[in-house]
């Protein structure tokens, strides 16, 4: 059986989220993405033990987390299980889940952990019916959301690409199954270009998916800057009410304050952080550490500067920190006499917005900057959204198969080998639209081609 994974805590913002991985390779997959601070390899952890460490994927730290390992058969499912407990944000949790999927786990079907627990003898016979209810309810829900998606743009896009693939396959099939008919030969060049088109369509869908997530779940945003530049005023302005305490005293904000704000169509999951500066105050310095961590993990950084003062060395250090991040530079206090200007930041190639948090001016400019930064202008909130990671995984696998097919074609493999990989890709897509490739192709052959005795 394959190794599966899912978020096993409710899909909402909570204190802690748990991502559960179950199956033969659970520990192996956990090892790929989890680095324990103790340096003791995950593969050597014994059952029912925990390790504290960080989840790293693609060289990027996603979150600090706790890993608990259970070894078969002593686990909920009776298989090897690894559970990653991370901080509760939806974005972070999904990132961890994606890291698991990218490392070889399959997204779990509805009720699959429970099903496996039952099949492995972990649940009693009396629970069997409850298990079937769970699976069937989950299945119905998935079906409902799939039906909903049928109306949507995503379904149409996937269907379009799947139809293109069915046409390619039908052409190949007709050519192969009816060699004696005078059908035009399938040309490598046209096949290559069809495959390339399909791959780029799928890439577009996947890219839109990320943007769809932004619409549904918001952008994890950190407001950072040196002390007393007006971060908390900005937070309050975006929220529309006073959430953070605002004073003239540097170091007022010491903890990370989190709140969601709506900016036009976009939801920002804002974190107001302590002003970054050297300090001897223990509490404040912990706040600064948290701010730095937030800065590393957030998807969007709003960096605030006081435009009535010259750039300090702390400002410049901060600019170094954010240079590889999605970032918007705010020149706050535009109501005062400006000593620094947008041009001073041109080398950083980041959008620069002047605003006055105190006078509540410049909110629209910020919204527009975010829209163009995340390329959200062609989207609206109800399109191109995958119901779940499973659907996304299907599209990703389809894309991978097409890339293999393209490669096979380019190194001169025969078309039978190319065909099976294209047809596998097609199966992954049709899994989402509820058809089977083989039948679709056979139907298409007879529809498109005049073949037979």
């Amino acid at each position: 059986m394959s190794t599966i994974c899912a978020i096993s805590t409710p899909n909402a913002v909570g204190g802690i989220s748990v991502i559960r991985i179950s199956g033969v390779d659970a520990v192996k997959i956990a090892e790929k993405i989890f680095i324990p601070f103790s340096k003791k390899p995950v593969s050597q952890m014994s059952g029912h033990t925990c390790a504290y460490g960080k989840v790293v994927f693609d060289g990027r730290t996603i979150d600090d987390a706790l890993l608990t390992v259970f070894l078969a058969p002593k686990s909920y499912t009776g298989e090897n299980v690894a559970e990653i407990s991370c901080h509760g944000g939806i974005f972070v949790t999904k990132e961890v889940l994606r890291a698991c999927i990218a490392s070889g786990a399959e997204p779990a079907e509805p009720g699959e952990f429970t099903k496996r627990a039952f099949l492995n003898g972990k649940l009693s016979l009396t629970q069997a019916e409850a298990v079937m209810d769970v699976i069937s309810a989950g299945g119905k829900q998935a079906l409902n959301s799939a039906n909903l998606a049928h109306e949507g743009l995503l379904f149409k896009k996937i269907k379009n690409t799947a139809d293109d693939l069915v046409n390619i396959l039908a052409e190949l099939a007709a050519w192969v199954d009816y060699p004696e008919e005078d059908l035009p030969a399938v040309k490598d060049e046209s096949l290559t270009s069809s495959l390339k088109t399909a791959i780029s369509q799928l890439n577009k869908i996947l890219c839109d998916y990320d943007n769809g997530l932004i619409f549904r779940e918001g952008i994890d945003t950190a407001i950072v800057g040196r002390a007393n530049v007006g971060k908390s005023s900005l937070m309050n302005m975006l929220l529309g009410f006073d959430r953070s305490i605002v004073t003239d005293i540097a170091g007022t904000t010491r903890d990370v304050i989190e709140e969601s704000a709506r900016l036009g169509e976009i939801i920002l999951k804002l974190s107001d952080t302590a002003g970054i500066r050297q300090t001897d105050d223990i509490v404040e310095s912990m706040g600064v550490d948290l701010a730095m961590k937030k800065l590393k993990n957030a998807r969007l950084i709003i960096t605030v500067f006081d435009c009535s003062e010259e750039l300090t060395s702390e400002d410049k250090k901060l600019l170094e920190e954010i240079k590889d991040k999605q970032c918007i530079i705010i020149l706050n206090k535009s109501d005062l006499k400006q000593k620094i200007h947008a041009e001073d930041f041109s080398i950083y190639k980041k959008p620069v917005i002047s605003l006055s948090a105190r006078e509540q001016k410049g909110k629209e400019n910020l919204e527009n900057a975010i829209i163009s930064l995340f390329k959200l202008d062609n989207l609206n909130s109800d399109t191109t959204v995958f119901t779940n990671e499973r659907q996304k995984n299907c599209v990703e696998k389809a894309k991978n198969c097409l890339e293999i097919a393209l490669n096979a074609l380019s190194i001169g493999e025969t078309l039978d080998a190319v065909t099976v990989t294209v047809s596998k890709a097609c199966d992954f897509l049709l899994e989402l639209t509820g058809e089977k490739a083989t039948e679709a192709v056979v139907d298409q052959v007879f529809h498109n081609f005049c073949v037979g005795k």
Partner: protein, 629 residues
């Protein structure tokens, strides 16, 4: 009361019936093969050809399992070709033009010589049964024969009706009488029948064809036999020819379309999509300026020629008129006119994967009766039905070939799980495992099964084991032969592929699409002398290793569910958590495994999970009852 007592009776001696009867008799069952006339045994009422894409695969699989069709084709072919050369080994397909009369004679002799097998002329009009179990058959003249299993292979004879233009009459193919009475008996047993339709083109006289104006098509020089057992030298005896229709032809057909039996609405049967009549081709693909036809001899001792591609139900005068517009056929004389034929067949979803009917024990179906089309599809089912009828009466488990084992398994699974809405033809695109199911490795896939079943001799099985071991040893050796850039680069550049930077294994070079085992002989001093078969397998195994590995992983996934057996008498409405649609479909098909259940349209992954949980629950309850009786 019974004239004779048999173990197994086969009704119909076409391609399905002959294989069924030979298999059951060879396995040791006392068998009778009934036919309307001994003179039409193993007749080819349509194209006198065996094999072709996917069909050629079926014939090789039949041979690998111990069937007769491959041997008969090898013995009586007059031209042989491998189709799809250059399109990849998975789709290479062997096709021969057979001598129709000699094929019939060969198969009749094979049946006559077979021990335990009685060949009898007679029309079966009734299947006798008691308590839902087959007991025998009755002929038209009132004779009764007992049997423990009966296999229906009625082909296109069951209530056969021929259509030519406005005229129609009851008949089997080639003017043999139809079997008009059996249908009612089958219906009484609870079997649903429906009408399918097929057609055949005209046969024309050789002297009326102007061959100079036609494109000639010759057979392969180096002939590959169908049978893995055949090592003799084979030769082509004739040429085939290609001609084309033109606008004039199309115009005549269009002008007379209302006179076509199919377009006039006389025919209720559903015709095959894969094999449209010429009027269908012209009406549906009106933008095509010409259609191709093949002109093929019917045998060595006849002047009849077959016009492949010209099947029609237009009246005879129109047939003559449009054929004479074709270059080379200006003076053509028709000997037998083209016609459409309609017949009764069953709904194959009423069959188990063993080809036994669910509603009546001991009754099997095979061939066109099951909704397929084609001699090869028929023979494949006949073989399996014969084996399974024998296993049934011997108290053995049925032989079910899964989709990853063969095209035969794919064909039967498609039929019994999905059913068919029009006559089913095998196509390579129907198999998801086609890189594994090549015609060149049918023996490796199926001969061990044929041996276990009892149709393959020990000698033949041992020859296969020896071949497999030679292949493995040679592949292993090639992964240990080191090649330096200096040795290989001149050759690699000549092939148009990247030169080596560092040393490589010879297998890595052979794996390149541009290179081959045969070509790399010069790099390989210690290469052993191996047969052509073995050399071919070595080359293909190395070349497709990556793809084969991926397909094998898929197979393993599939087989896990295939091994989860479901009881045949299960009432799915009692299983909690299944959706209504799934319950209906599952109760209709009664799948034998969760794997089969998962392929039924309307059964979704959640339903499959529910079935798995139900199975486990059931298993534990049985265990509990065992422990606490």
């Amino acid at each position: 009361m019974f004239i004779e007592n048999y173990d197994i009776i086969v009704v119909g001696a076409g391609h399905a019936g002959c294989e069924a009867a030979l298999a059951s008799a060879r396995l040791g069952a006392k068998t009778a093969l009934f036919t309307l006339t001994l003179d039409a045994l193993a007749n080819m009422p349509c194209n006198p050809s065996i094999g072709g894409t996917a069909k050629g695969h079926l014939v090789r699989e039949i041979d690998a399992l111990g069937g007769e069709m491959g041997k008969a084709a090898d013995a009586t072919f007059i031209q042989s070709r491998i189709l799809n050369r250059g399109r990849g080994p998975a789709v290479h397909s062997l096709r021969v033009q057979a001598d129709r009369t000699r094929y019939h004679e060969y198969m009749k002799k094979a049946v006559e010589c077979c021990e335990n097998l009685d060949l009898r002329q007679g029309e079966i009009i009734k299947i006798l049964s008691e308590n839902g179990k087959v007991t025998g058959v009755q002929t038209k003249i009132g004779s009764m024969f007992s049997a423990r299993a009966v296999i229906i292979c009625s082909g296109t004879y069951l209530k056969g009706k021929v259509f030519v233009g406005e005229s129609s009459y009851e008949s089997g193919p080639d003017a043999v009488c139809p079997a008009n009475l059996l249908s009612d008996s089958l219906k009484e047993l609870g079997i649903s029948l429906r009408r399918f339709k097929t057609g055949t083109p005209a046969r024309v006289h050789r002297r009326s064809i102007n061959f100079d104006k036609l494109q000639k098509q010759d057979g392969d020089e180096d002939i590959v036999p169908f049978s893995f057992d055949n090592h003799s030298k084979l030769e082509n005896k004739i040429s085939c020819y290609i001609a084309y229709t033109n606008e004039k032809t199309h115009e005549i057909i269009k002008n007379n379309i209302k006179r076509s039996a199919m377009y006039g609405g006389q025919i209720e049967g559903i015709g095959p999509r894969y094999c449209p009549s010429i009027e269908d081709k012209i009406m549906r693909f009106s933008d095509k300026p010409r259609h191709q036809l093949f002109i093929e001899p019917m045998g060595l001792n006849t002047d009849e020629y077959y016009l492949q591609g010209m099947s029609t139900s237009l009246p005879e005068d129109v047939q003559i008129e449009f054929l004479r517009t074709i270059e080379g056929l200006e003076n053509v004389e028709i000997m037998r006119n083209a016609y459409a034929i309609e017949y009764d067949c069953c709904d194959p979803t009423e069959l188990l994967p063993t080809l036994e009917f669910k509603q009546i024990q001991g009754l099997f179906g095979a061939g066109q009766f099951n909704g397929t089309s084609g001699y090869e599809e028929a023979a494949a089912q006949g073989l399996i039905a014969g084996i399974n009828a024998y296993r049934k009466i011997s108290g053995k488990d049925g032989l079910i070939l899964d989709r990853a084992s063969s095209y035969i398994g794919t064909l039967i699974d498609d039929l019994v799980t999905k059913g068919c809405m029009d006559p089913y033809r095998m196509l390579t695109s129907r198999s998801e495992y086609r890189l594994l199911l090549r015609q060149d490795n049918a023996d490796q896939r199926l001969t061990p099964i044929g041996y276990e079943v009892g149709l393959i001799s020990k000698e033949r099985y041992e020859r296969l084991l020896e071949k497999v071991s030679q292949i493995k040893t040679e592949i292993k050796r090639l992964w240990n032969v080191n090649i330096s850039p200096k040795e290989a680069n001149e050759y690699l550049e000549k092939c148009g592929t990247e030169p080596l930077q560092t040393g490589a294994k010879l297998a890595q070079i052979i794996r390149r699409p541009q290179c081959s085992y045969e070509d790399t002989d010069f790099l390989d001093e210690k290469r052993p002398a191996l047969s052509k078969d073995v050399r071919e397998q070595v080359d293909l195994s190395i070349k497709y290793e990556g793809y084969i590995k991926i397909q094998l992983e898929q197979v393993e996934q599939m087989r896990k569910l295939e091994r989860k057996a479901l009881p045949g008498d299960l009432d799915y409405s009692n299983i909690r958590g299944l959706r209504l649609e799934a319950i209906e479909k599952l109760n209709k098909i009664k799948p034998l495994s969760v794997g089969q259940a998962s392929r039924i349209s309307g059964v979704n992954p959640a339903d499959v999970s529910v079935l798995l949980v139900w199975l486990e629950q059931n298993r534990r309850e049985i265990n509990k009852n065992k422990n606490h009786p």
